[in-house]
Protein backbone atom coordinates (compact mmCIF):
# COMPACT_ATOMS: atom_id res chain seq x y z
CA UNK A 1 0.00 0.00 0.00
CA UNK A 2 2.67 2.46 0.94
CA UNK A 3 4.43 2.37 -2.40
CA UNK A 4 4.62 6.11 -2.64
CA UNK A 5 6.58 7.37 -5.57
CA UNK A 6 7.79 10.88 -5.23
CA UNK A 7 9.40 13.15 -7.73
CA UNK A 8 10.68 16.65 -7.33
CA UNK A 9 10.54 19.30 -9.97
CA UNK A 10 12.25 22.66 -9.55
CA UNK A 11 9.89 25.58 -9.71
CA UNK A 12 9.88 26.96 -13.22
CA UNK A 13 10.18 30.55 -12.08
CA UNK A 14 13.35 29.74 -10.14
CA UNK A 15 15.66 28.21 -12.72
CA UNK A 16 18.76 28.97 -10.66
CA UNK A 17 17.55 26.91 -7.75
CA UNK A 18 18.77 23.30 -7.68
CA UNK A 19 16.15 20.60 -7.25
CA UNK A 20 15.83 19.64 -3.64
CA UNK A 21 16.30 15.94 -3.05
CA UNK A 22 14.14 14.84 -0.20
CA UNK A 23 15.69 11.38 -0.10
CA UNK A 24 19.00 12.64 1.20
CA UNK A 25 19.54 14.90 4.10
CA UNK A 26 21.43 17.60 2.29
CA UNK A 27 21.76 19.75 5.37
CA UNK A 28 19.93 22.44 3.48
CA UNK A 29 17.58 22.96 6.40
CA UNK A 30 17.65 26.75 6.22
CA UNK A 31 14.56 27.04 4.02
CA UNK A 32 12.74 23.97 5.20
CA UNK A 33 8.99 24.51 5.26
CA UNK A 34 7.51 21.05 5.62
CA UNK A 35 9.07 17.99 7.18
CA UNK A 36 7.46 14.72 8.15
CA UNK A 37 9.01 12.08 10.33
CA UNK A 38 7.89 8.45 10.16
CA UNK A 39 4.30 9.42 9.46
CA UNK A 40 1.90 6.52 9.39
CA UNK A 41 -1.83 6.49 8.93
CA UNK A 42 -3.96 3.44 9.49
CA UNK A 43 -7.63 3.44 8.64
CA UNK A 44 -9.78 1.00 10.53
CA UNK A 45 -12.42 -0.41 8.25
CA UNK A 46 -14.34 -2.78 10.45
CA UNK A 47 -12.02 -5.72 11.07
CA UNK A 48 -9.62 -4.74 8.33
CA UNK A 49 -6.75 -2.33 8.89
CA UNK A 50 -5.69 -0.27 5.91
CA UNK A 51 -2.14 1.08 6.06
CA UNK A 52 -2.47 4.21 3.96
CA UNK A 53 0.90 5.64 4.98
CA UNK A 54 3.74 3.46 6.21
CA UNK A 55 6.37 5.74 7.70
CA UNK A 56 6.73 8.63 5.29
CA UNK A 57 9.73 10.93 5.62
CA UNK A 58 9.61 13.95 3.40
CA UNK A 59 11.27 17.35 3.35
CA UNK A 60 10.02 20.25 1.32
CA UNK A 61 11.96 23.46 1.10
CA UNK A 62 10.62 26.97 0.62
CA UNK A 63 9.92 27.80 -2.99
CA UNK A 64 10.00 24.19 -4.05
CA UNK A 65 7.47 22.67 -6.41
CA UNK A 66 6.83 19.02 -5.71
CA UNK A 67 4.57 16.53 -7.40
CA UNK A 68 3.61 13.34 -5.66
CA UNK A 69 2.58 10.61 -8.04
CA UNK A 70 1.26 7.13 -7.47
CA UNK A 71 -1.59 4.82 -8.31
CA UNK A 72 -4.93 5.40 -6.65
CA UNK A 73 -4.99 4.02 -3.14
CA UNK A 74 -1.27 4.66 -2.63
CA UNK A 75 -1.91 7.30 -0.01
CA UNK A 76 -1.43 10.56 -1.92
CA UNK A 77 -4.54 12.20 -0.56
CA UNK A 78 -3.82 10.89 2.94
CA UNK A 79 -0.37 12.48 2.85
CA UNK A 80 -1.93 15.72 1.57
CA UNK A 81 -4.41 15.70 4.44
CA UNK A 82 -1.78 14.88 7.06
CA UNK A 83 0.57 17.66 5.89
CA UNK A 84 -2.32 20.08 5.73
CA UNK A 85 -3.39 19.30 9.28
CA UNK A 86 -6.77 18.08 8.05
CA UNK A 87 -6.48 14.66 9.67
CA UNK A 88 -4.30 13.37 12.46
CA UNK A 89 -1.62 10.79 11.61
CA UNK A 90 -1.73 7.51 13.51
CA UNK A 91 1.92 7.97 14.46
CA UNK A 92 4.85 10.17 13.51
CA UNK A 93 5.21 13.93 13.36
CA UNK A 94 4.52 16.67 10.86
CA UNK A 95 6.59 19.81 11.19
CA UNK A 96 5.65 23.01 9.48
CA UNK A 97 8.46 25.50 9.79
CA UNK A 98 9.84 23.48 12.70
CA UNK A 99 6.59 23.51 14.60
CA UNK A 100 5.09 20.13 15.39
CA UNK A 101 1.51 20.33 14.15
CA UNK A 102 0.39 17.79 16.76
CA UNK A 103 1.36 20.22 19.52
CA UNK A 104 -1.05 22.90 18.32
CA UNK A 105 -4.45 23.43 19.90
CA UNK A 106 -7.62 23.84 17.82
CA UNK A 107 -7.30 27.61 17.53
CA UNK A 108 -3.63 27.55 16.48
CA UNK A 109 -4.43 24.83 13.97
CA UNK A 110 -7.19 27.00 12.55
CA UNK A 111 -4.69 29.87 12.28
CA UNK A 112 -2.25 27.61 10.45
CA UNK A 113 -4.92 26.45 7.98
CA UNK A 114 -6.10 29.99 7.52
CA UNK A 115 -2.86 31.93 7.13
CA UNK A 116 -0.16 29.51 6.07
CA UNK A 117 -1.75 26.78 3.95
CA UNK A 118 -3.84 27.08 0.84
CA UNK A 119 -5.81 24.01 -0.13
CA UNK A 120 -7.03 23.05 -3.57
CA UNK A 121 -9.15 19.92 -3.55
CA UNK A 122 -9.92 17.44 -6.26
CA UNK A 123 -13.64 18.03 -5.78
CA UNK A 124 -13.43 21.87 -5.58
CA UNK A 125 -15.15 22.08 -2.17
CA UNK A 126 -16.25 25.64 -2.55
CA UNK A 127 -19.07 26.76 -0.29
CA UNK A 128 -22.24 26.35 -2.33
CA UNK A 129 -24.28 29.01 -0.58
CA UNK A 130 -21.73 31.76 -1.22
CA UNK A 131 -20.84 33.62 -4.40
CA UNK A 132 -17.40 33.30 -6.00
CA UNK A 133 -16.40 36.59 -4.41
CA UNK A 134 -17.60 35.58 -0.95
CA UNK A 135 -15.80 32.24 -1.24
CA UNK A 136 -12.51 34.01 -1.85
CA UNK A 137 -13.21 36.70 0.76
CA UNK A 138 -14.09 34.24 3.54
CA UNK A 139 -10.59 33.03 4.48
CA UNK A 140 -9.42 36.66 4.55
CA UNK A 141 -12.27 37.59 6.89
CA UNK A 142 -11.33 34.65 9.12
CA UNK A 143 -7.78 36.00 9.12
CA UNK A 144 -9.00 39.40 10.26
CA UNK A 145 -8.49 41.37 7.02
CA UNK A 146 -10.85 44.39 6.91
CA UNK A 147 -13.86 43.55 4.67
CA UNK A 148 -13.18 46.30 2.07
CA UNK A 149 -9.57 45.27 1.67
CA UNK A 150 -10.54 41.60 1.49
CA UNK A 151 -13.06 42.33 -1.23
CA UNK A 152 -10.60 44.34 -3.31
CA UNK A 153 -8.05 41.57 -3.09
CA UNK A 154 -10.65 38.88 -3.88
CA UNK A 155 -11.74 40.78 -7.00
CA UNK A 156 -8.10 41.11 -8.03
CA UNK A 157 -7.30 37.40 -7.58
CA UNK A 158 -10.51 36.31 -9.31
CA UNK A 159 -9.47 38.56 -12.18
CA UNK A 160 -6.08 36.87 -12.27
CA UNK A 161 -7.67 33.41 -12.64
CA UNK A 162 -9.87 34.75 -15.44
CA UNK A 163 -13.15 35.09 -13.57
CA UNK A 164 -13.26 38.87 -13.48
CA UNK A 165 -16.77 38.92 -14.95
CA UNK A 166 -18.04 36.07 -12.80
CA UNK A 167 -17.39 37.35 -9.27
CA UNK A 168 -21.04 37.55 -8.19
CA UNK A 169 -22.02 34.15 -9.56
CA UNK A 170 -22.85 31.29 -7.21
CA UNK A 171 -21.14 27.89 -7.70
CA UNK A 172 -24.35 26.58 -9.29
CA UNK A 173 -23.97 29.13 -12.08
CA UNK A 174 -20.32 28.24 -12.73
CA UNK A 175 -18.86 25.38 -14.74
CA UNK A 176 -16.57 22.79 -13.17
CA UNK A 177 -13.47 24.53 -14.47
CA UNK A 178 -14.67 27.89 -13.23
CA UNK A 179 -15.45 26.43 -9.80
CA UNK A 180 -11.96 25.01 -9.57
CA UNK A 181 -10.53 28.41 -10.51
CA UNK A 182 -12.54 29.92 -7.65
CA UNK A 183 -10.97 27.28 -5.40
CA UNK A 184 -7.50 28.21 -6.70
CA UNK A 185 -8.18 31.90 -6.09
CA UNK A 186 -9.38 31.05 -2.59
CA UNK A 187 -6.21 29.06 -1.88
CA UNK A 188 -4.13 32.14 -2.69
CA UNK A 189 -6.29 34.58 -0.74
CA UNK A 190 -4.20 34.81 2.43
CA UNK A 191 -0.84 34.61 0.63
CA UNK A 192 -0.05 31.22 2.16
CA UNK A 193 3.46 29.77 2.56
CA UNK A 194 2.31 26.41 1.31
CA UNK A 195 -0.13 25.56 -1.44
CA UNK A 196 -1.40 22.00 -1.26
CA UNK A 197 -3.17 20.78 -4.35
CA UNK A 198 -4.74 17.35 -4.48
CA UNK A 199 -5.19 16.42 -8.14
CA UNK A 200 -6.59 19.86 -8.87
CA UNK A 201 -7.13 19.12 -12.53
CA UNK A 202 -8.53 15.59 -12.17
CA UNK A 203 -12.07 16.79 -12.69
CA UNK A 204 -11.27 19.17 -15.52
CA UNK A 205 -11.00 18.72 -19.24
CA UNK A 206 -7.51 18.66 -20.72
CA UNK A 207 -7.48 22.22 -22.02
CA UNK A 208 -8.70 23.86 -18.79
CA UNK A 209 -6.39 21.58 -16.81
CA UNK A 210 -3.37 22.98 -18.58
Amino acid sequence: MSSLHTKTIPASDMPDRPAFNWLEDTGEDADLTVMTRDVTKIYQMGEEKIHALGGVNIKIATGEYISIMGPSGSGKTTLFNVIGGLIKPTSGNVFIDEIDVAQLDANELAWLRCRKIGYIFQSYNIVKVLTALENVTLPMLFAGVPPDEAQDRAVYILGRVGLGDRVLHTPKELSGGQQQRVAIARAFANKPSIILADEPTANLDLKTGE
Binding site: I87, D97, N107, R113, Y119, N125, P139, L141, S193
Partner: protein, 195 residues
Protein backbone atom coordinates in the same frame (compact mmCIF):
# COMPACT_ATOMS: atom_id res chain seq x y z
CA UNK B 1 19.62 26.66 11.85
CA UNK B 2 16.43 27.64 10.20
CA UNK B 3 15.18 31.13 10.72
CA UNK B 4 11.52 31.55 11.45
CA UNK B 5 9.68 33.80 9.06
CA UNK B 6 6.53 33.59 11.13
CA UNK B 7 5.27 32.26 14.40
CA UNK B 8 2.02 30.55 15.23
CA UNK B 9 -0.68 32.99 16.18
CA UNK B 10 -4.29 32.72 17.29
CA UNK B 11 -7.46 33.70 15.48
CA UNK B 12 -10.26 35.80 16.91
CA UNK B 13 -13.90 35.12 16.19
CA UNK B 14 -15.83 38.05 14.74
CA UNK B 15 -19.43 38.22 15.99
CA UNK B 16 -20.40 40.36 12.98
CA UNK B 17 -19.25 37.65 10.61
CA UNK B 18 -21.19 35.01 12.58
CA UNK B 19 -24.38 37.05 12.20
CA UNK B 20 -23.71 37.72 8.52
CA UNK B 21 -23.12 34.03 7.76
CA UNK B 22 -26.18 32.93 9.73
CA UNK B 23 -28.48 35.40 7.96
CA UNK B 24 -26.96 34.58 4.56
CA UNK B 25 -27.45 30.88 5.13
CA UNK B 26 -31.11 31.42 6.03
CA UNK B 27 -31.63 33.59 2.94
CA UNK B 28 -29.92 31.26 0.50
CA UNK B 29 -31.77 28.18 1.76
CA UNK B 30 -35.07 30.03 1.65
CA UNK B 31 -37.23 26.96 0.97
CA UNK B 32 -35.79 25.05 3.90
CA UNK B 33 -36.03 28.16 6.09
CA UNK B 34 -39.71 28.56 5.18
CA UNK B 35 -40.40 24.92 5.91
CA UNK B 36 -38.72 25.08 9.31
CA UNK B 37 -40.51 28.33 10.14
CA UNK B 38 -43.81 26.70 9.23
CA UNK B 39 -43.11 23.77 11.58
CA UNK B 40 -42.22 26.04 14.48
CA UNK B 41 -45.05 28.49 13.78
CA UNK B 42 -47.67 25.74 13.63
CA UNK B 43 -46.42 24.27 16.89
CA UNK B 44 -46.44 27.54 18.81
CA UNK B 45 -49.75 28.63 17.26
CA UNK B 46 -51.39 25.44 18.46
CA UNK B 47 -49.78 25.83 21.88
CA UNK B 48 -51.10 29.38 22.28
CA UNK B 49 -54.54 28.36 21.02
CA UNK B 50 -54.70 25.53 23.55
CA UNK B 51 -53.49 27.74 26.38
CA UNK B 52 -56.19 30.34 25.73
CA UNK B 53 -59.00 27.85 25.09
CA UNK B 54 -62.01 28.24 27.43
CA UNK B 55 -61.90 25.50 30.06
CA UNK B 56 -64.72 24.03 32.11
CA UNK B 57 -64.21 22.73 35.62
CA UNK B 58 -65.32 19.29 34.50
CA UNK B 59 -62.61 16.77 35.37
CA UNK B 60 -62.90 14.80 32.12
CA UNK B 61 -62.53 18.01 30.10
CA UNK B 62 -59.50 18.99 32.14
CA UNK B 63 -57.87 15.63 31.51
CA UNK B 64 -58.53 15.82 27.77
CA UNK B 65 -57.01 19.31 27.72
CA UNK B 66 -53.83 18.25 29.49
CA UNK B 67 -53.54 15.24 27.21
CA UNK B 68 -53.86 17.46 24.12
CA UNK B 69 -51.31 19.90 25.51
CA UNK B 70 -48.84 17.13 26.29
CA UNK B 71 -49.28 15.44 22.93
CA UNK B 72 -49.00 18.68 20.96
CA UNK B 73 -45.76 19.63 22.72
CA UNK B 74 -44.37 16.15 22.11
CA UNK B 75 -45.31 16.09 18.43
CA UNK B 76 -43.99 19.57 17.75
CA UNK B 77 -40.77 18.81 19.66
CA UNK B 78 -40.19 15.71 17.54
CA UNK B 79 -40.93 17.64 14.33
CA UNK B 80 -38.70 20.62 15.09
CA UNK B 81 -35.83 18.51 16.45
CA UNK B 82 -35.92 16.31 13.38
CA UNK B 83 -35.92 19.27 10.99
CA UNK B 84 -32.99 20.92 12.76
CA UNK B 85 -30.98 17.69 13.01
CA UNK B 86 -31.41 17.08 9.30
CA UNK B 87 -30.56 20.61 8.24
CA UNK B 88 -27.24 20.59 10.12
CA UNK B 89 -26.32 17.02 9.17
CA UNK B 90 -26.61 17.95 5.51
CA UNK B 91 -23.98 20.62 6.01
CA UNK B 92 -21.06 18.54 7.24
CA UNK B 93 -19.21 19.09 3.99
CA UNK B 94 -19.69 22.84 4.12
CA UNK B 95 -18.57 22.89 7.76
CA UNK B 96 -15.45 20.86 6.89
CA UNK B 97 -14.64 23.23 4.03
CA UNK B 98 -14.99 26.26 6.28
CA UNK B 99 -12.70 24.66 8.84
CA UNK B 100 -10.08 24.17 6.11
CA UNK B 101 -10.25 27.89 5.45
CA UNK B 102 -9.58 28.64 9.09
CA UNK B 103 -13.02 28.71 10.69
CA UNK B 104 -12.77 28.22 14.44
CA UNK B 105 -14.79 25.47 16.08
CA UNK B 106 -16.80 28.05 17.96
CA UNK B 107 -17.40 30.07 14.78
CA UNK B 108 -19.05 27.03 13.21
CA UNK B 109 -20.99 26.32 16.38
CA UNK B 110 -22.13 29.92 16.94
CA UNK B 111 -23.19 30.36 13.31
CA UNK B 112 -25.46 27.31 13.50
CA UNK B 113 -26.80 28.32 16.92
CA UNK B 114 -27.54 31.91 15.87
CA UNK B 115 -29.25 30.62 12.76
CA UNK B 116 -31.40 28.25 14.82
CA UNK B 117 -32.22 30.91 17.38
CA UNK B 118 -33.38 33.29 14.60
CA UNK B 119 -35.56 30.50 13.19
CA UNK B 120 -37.00 29.74 16.64
CA UNK B 121 -37.69 33.41 17.37
CA UNK B 122 -39.27 34.32 14.04
CA UNK B 123 -41.24 31.07 14.03
CA UNK B 124 -42.56 31.80 17.52
CA UNK B 125 -43.53 35.38 16.57
CA UNK B 126 -45.55 34.12 13.61
CA UNK B 127 -46.97 31.25 15.65
CA UNK B 128 -48.05 33.42 18.58
CA UNK B 129 -49.72 35.96 16.27
CA UNK B 130 -51.54 33.28 14.31
CA UNK B 131 -52.52 31.37 17.48
CA UNK B 132 -53.91 34.48 19.17
CA UNK B 133 -55.80 35.49 16.03
CA UNK B 134 -57.41 32.07 15.69
CA UNK B 135 -58.25 31.98 19.37
CA UNK B 136 -59.86 35.45 19.30
CA UNK B 137 -61.73 34.84 16.03
CA UNK B 138 -63.19 31.56 17.26
CA UNK B 139 -64.04 33.25 20.57
CA UNK B 140 -65.86 36.04 18.70
CA UNK B 141 -67.86 33.51 16.71
CA UNK B 142 -68.88 31.61 19.79
CA UNK B 143 -69.27 34.23 22.51
CA UNK B 144 -69.57 37.54 20.66
CA UNK B 145 -67.87 40.52 22.23
CA UNK B 146 -67.85 39.10 25.72
CA UNK B 147 -65.23 36.60 24.57
CA UNK B 148 -62.63 37.67 27.11
CA UNK B 149 -64.84 36.43 29.92
CA UNK B 150 -64.48 32.93 28.57
CA UNK B 151 -61.03 32.74 26.95
CA UNK B 152 -58.12 32.07 29.28
CA UNK B 153 -56.32 35.37 28.73
CA UNK B 154 -54.96 35.67 32.27
CA UNK B 155 -51.17 35.21 32.43
CA UNK B 156 -51.19 35.81 28.67
CA UNK B 157 -47.69 37.31 28.64
CA UNK B 158 -46.34 34.28 30.46
CA UNK B 159 -48.06 32.00 27.97
CA UNK B 160 -46.56 33.91 25.03
CA UNK B 161 -43.17 33.74 26.73
CA UNK B 162 -43.58 29.98 27.10
CA UNK B 163 -44.28 29.65 23.36
CA UNK B 164 -41.14 31.70 22.59
CA UNK B 165 -39.02 29.71 25.02
CA UNK B 166 -40.24 26.44 23.56
CA UNK B 167 -39.58 27.56 19.97
CA UNK B 168 -36.06 28.83 20.63
CA UNK B 169 -35.17 25.93 22.91
CA UNK B 170 -36.29 23.29 20.42
CA UNK B 171 -34.45 24.82 17.44
CA UNK B 172 -31.18 25.51 19.26
CA UNK B 173 -31.23 22.20 21.09
CA UNK B 174 -32.04 20.25 17.92
CA UNK B 175 -29.16 21.80 16.00
CA UNK B 176 -26.67 21.89 18.87
CA UNK B 177 -25.96 18.15 18.87
CA UNK B 178 -24.90 17.77 15.21
CA UNK B 179 -23.27 21.24 15.31
CA UNK B 180 -21.04 20.31 18.26
CA UNK B 181 -20.09 17.03 16.60
CA UNK B 182 -19.35 18.66 13.24
CA UNK B 183 -17.39 21.59 14.69
CA UNK B 184 -15.06 19.29 16.63
CA UNK B 185 -14.34 16.87 13.79
CA UNK B 186 -11.08 17.07 11.86
CA UNK B 187 -12.00 19.00 8.67
CA UNK B 188 -11.44 16.11 6.32
CA UNK B 189 -13.68 13.77 8.32
CA UNK B 190 -16.39 16.43 8.33
CA UNK B 191 -16.03 16.91 4.57
CA UNK B 192 -16.53 13.22 4.05
CA UNK B 193 -19.57 13.36 6.28
CA UNK B 194 -18.22 10.81 8.72
CA UNK B 195 -19.49 10.74 12.25
Amino acid sequence: MAHKEWHIDRLKMKPGLVWQMAVNSLKVRISRTTLTLLTIATSSAFLIYLLTLPRSDDLADQQTWYLMLGLSVLVSAAGVLNTMLMSVSQRYREIGTMKCLGALDKFVLFTVMVESAILGFVGAVIGVLVGLTISILLGLLEYGFSLFQYLQFDWILLKILAAFALGIFLTTFGSSIPAVIASRMPPMDAMRGEK
